[in-house]
Subunit: 87 residues, 7 copies
Amino acid sequence: MGRKEFDLDVLKPHIPSNYEVAQALEEILGVLFVSIKTDEIDQKTTSVFITIIGTEELSLDSIKEKLENMNCALHSVDRVQIDKRTS
Amino acid sequence: MGRKEFDLDVLKPHIPSNYEVAQALEEILGVLFVSIKTDEIDQKTTSVFITIIGTEELSLDSIKEKLENMNCALHSVDRVQIDKRTS
Amino acid sequence: MGRKEFDLDVLKPHIPSNYEVAQALEEILGVLFVSIKTDEIDQKTTSVFITIIGTEELSLDSIKEKLENMNCALHSVDRVQIDKRTS
Amino acid sequence: MGRKEFDLDVLKPHIPSNYEVAQALEEILGVLFVSIKTDEIDQKTTSVFITIIGTEELSLDSIKEKLENMNCALHSVDRVQIDKRTS
Amino acid sequence: MGRKEFDLDVLKPHIPSNYEVAQALEEILGVLFVSIKTDEIDQKTTSVFITIIGTEELSLDSIKEKLENMNCALHSVDRVQIDKRTS
Amino acid sequence: MGRKEFDLDVLKPHIPSNYEVAQALEEILGVLFVSIKTDEIDQKTTSVFITIIGTEELSLDSIKEKLENMNCALHSVDRVQIDKRTS
Amino acid sequence: MGRKEFDLDVLKPHIPSNYEVAQALEEILGVLFVSIKTDEIDQKTTSVFITIIGTEELSLDSIKEKLENMNCALHSVDRVQIDKRTS
């Protein structure tokens, strides 16, 4: 069973918190792992690095949609990885 | 069974000591691992980096509450990680 | 069964996205793994580093053809690796 | 069975030697591992970094007491780690 | 069964490509692994670092001969390794 | 069965050689491993870093005695490690 | 069965080549592994770093003798390691 990985550069408001964003992303179909690291905190926004690992069922569109629902802007997709090898 | 990890930047008074904070955090439901490293020592406060690993039962709210009870201020949550893969 | 690996330096238009390129490359005969990292984003183009791992059936020509079909220019092949050892 | 780890910054007289301090610390209830590295040697004192790993039975108080008995001053506790996972 | 490894500094014309050189080297008796990394690209030549791993049957002479047949100049042998331990 | 490790900073005459010192240290009761690295070579002396790993039977006194018998001066004990965990 | 390791700093003429030196050293009683890396190439000589791993039967004298027979000068023995632990 394959794996997909995404490194995302995201601009978010202070609320929802990193933890709330992680919990929301965790619920997406196919998600196995979510990591959110704070990069810079400005007056109104926080830029964060998000890594998401999932099964083949995971789609980038579902991630984007979830982020937009939380008023988070997907600034760039820094890394995309698709691994078809079973592990 | 999943794992949650938090990297916390915390400002604490000199008392309770790092060890006492670690012992208090260890008692929270779901906690498996606590590490506290001293970052800077000022006249009245110590800033520390705290890493906590726990099961799915661990909640950030219970960590915050425990820290506040010890007069420790959670300055920021630098990293949140949720891993649903069994290991 | 052997493995082939390629590190490619590629110049692509903003569309298709990194994810769409990864999905297209994944479909090539013999491909096991695709990773695309953004290097630099300019006004009209994005330069990316692509790593592809595949079986002995994977050919560089099929990669080149697929990239050209997406208006991506293969700037250079930075690393070629052929491993005949079973693993 | 859990593990506790401490990184200690200690100021000691030249005598007892690092080896004698290590042997004394090794005798504390619950101690599994002791490492002592010399940081700086001054005219009358040596500052050393001490790492101690132990079982749940290990207490910081017993370490402090042992160090004081050898005229060593516990300058700071740089890291405290409590790991409840069996290994 | 032993292993031989060579790190080679090679100056090659732009054609044959890195991939064609790798495919030619792969055919040498005893070769198990070939990696070619581009170091510098000049107007008429490319300098590359080549790593070759092989069995005891692999000889440096057969590598040199193959390189010369492709108009590649073996500039230097930066590392030679012979490992007689079975692995 | 426990392990002891020592990192020693030693000043030695050019003769005996590093290899002769290693062979002498290897004969001490409890020694399992000896490594000697040259740090600086002066006109009459060589300063070396010596790492010795041994069983619980190994004593620092027996190491000191052996070094003195070879006209080597134990300048400092940079690290002492006692590991009681079986491995 | 124990292991011996030597890191040698050697000055050699351009001929014999690194590969020929490696092949000669490989024939010494007890040798399991030889690695030769070029450090600097001068007009008449090449300075190389040689690592040799062998069984307890390996002696430094046999290495020195072999090097001298090839007009190579053993400049220094940078590291000597004797490991009596079976692995």
